[in-house]
């Protein structure tokens, strides 16, 4: 019998562990909290995109569409910080 429920349960457990780690880091101070924000939060989003939203098994076109949108947002964020960080 195929155990189709195991991969989603694994993703769910990983998301809960990462959330607990994020909360623990945020209690250690601003620098660890920022590290958690920049590393753990995108990792959690990536897990949801890859496993729950099935980008892992999609073709090139369906993976390129969200990648272009996220890449564009990252470029905008970079431009924003390149401005306000050096005022």
């Amino acid at each position: 019998m195929e155990r189709w429920w195991i991969p989603p349960l694994g993703t769910w457990a990983a998301l809960l562990v990462l959330t607990a780690a994020l909360a623990a880091l945020s209690r250690l101070g601003p620098a660890p909290a920022l590290l958690g924000l920049l590393l753990l939060t995108p990792t959690k989003a990536w897990l949801v995109l890859r496993h729950f939203m099935h980008l892992k098994g999609e073709g090139l076109l369906l993976r390129v569409v969200p990648a272009v949108a996220l890449g564009t947002l990252l470029i905008y964020l970079s431009l924003l910080f390149s401005d306000v960080a050096f005022r």
């Binding site: 189709w4 989603p8 993703t11 959330t19 909360a23 949801v48 729950f52 949108a69 964020l77 910080f81």
Partner: protein, 194 residues
């Protein structure tokens, strides 16, 4: 008469993803507004974050992540022909979504009670940075809450009308998971900001 349902699965998913991209841009713009204001008012955002209840934020995170699990399980069950089990998981997803909104209502009520709502004299008396923090908090969590309501209406409609074919469930699930992703970013930006 042939009553078979014809659907282009690849095209349907592509259309759904194009819609989700517009949602990413919508929230992305507001996240940039948050980043800009936090750069300007770092200390005030730290103070604003101290008024947030991290326990409620973390509880709602667990609720929404678990609802994403039940949504994923509903789709997998439907794909494996277990329709009854799939419908049970869909019902669990709806219940968890409602629980999320109930917790959010408790949280917002406490903020209103303490005068931390737009238009209240107490909020207007706070420094500009704290006003920006709470303005962004209500805008982003409010818009996210509206998306949770929309997701519940879509998933509830699919369940009530018995339209729970795997492709339909997959599209409804994609929307629900996107709502989850937005919340994943809201948690550290507001609830763990202090």
């Amino acid at each position: 008469m042939n009553t078979a349902v014809h659907a282009d699965a690849e095209g349907t998913r592509l259309g759904m993803w194009l819609f989700l991209v517009t949602e990413l841009v919508l929230f992305g713009g507001l996240f940039m507004a948050y980043a800009y204001q936090r750069q300007l008012h770092g200390a005030a955002f730290h103070v604003g974050g101290q008024a947030m209840d991290a326990r409620l934020g973390l509880t709602n995170t667990a609720v929404l992540i678990t609802s994403s699990l039940t949504m994923a399980l509903a789709l997998e069950a439907a794909r494996h022909g277990a329709r009854g089990l799939s419908r049970a998981f869909q019902g669990a997803t709806l219940a968890l979504g409602l629980a999320f909104l109930a917790i959010k209502a408790v949280e917002w009520s406490a903020k209103f009670h303490h005068g931390l709502r737009p238009g209240h004299p107490h909020l207007a008396s706070l420094p500009p940075g704290e006003q920006a923090f709470f303005g962004l908090y209500f805008t982003l969590t409010g818009l996210h809450g509206l998306h949770v309501v929309a997701g519940l209406l879509v998933l509830g409609g699919i369940l009530a009308l018995g339209k729970d074919r795997p492709l339909v469930l997959e599209c409804g699930g994609l929307y629900w998971h996107l709502v989850d992703i937005v919340w994943i970013f809201l948690l550290p930006l507001f609830y763990l900001a202090a």
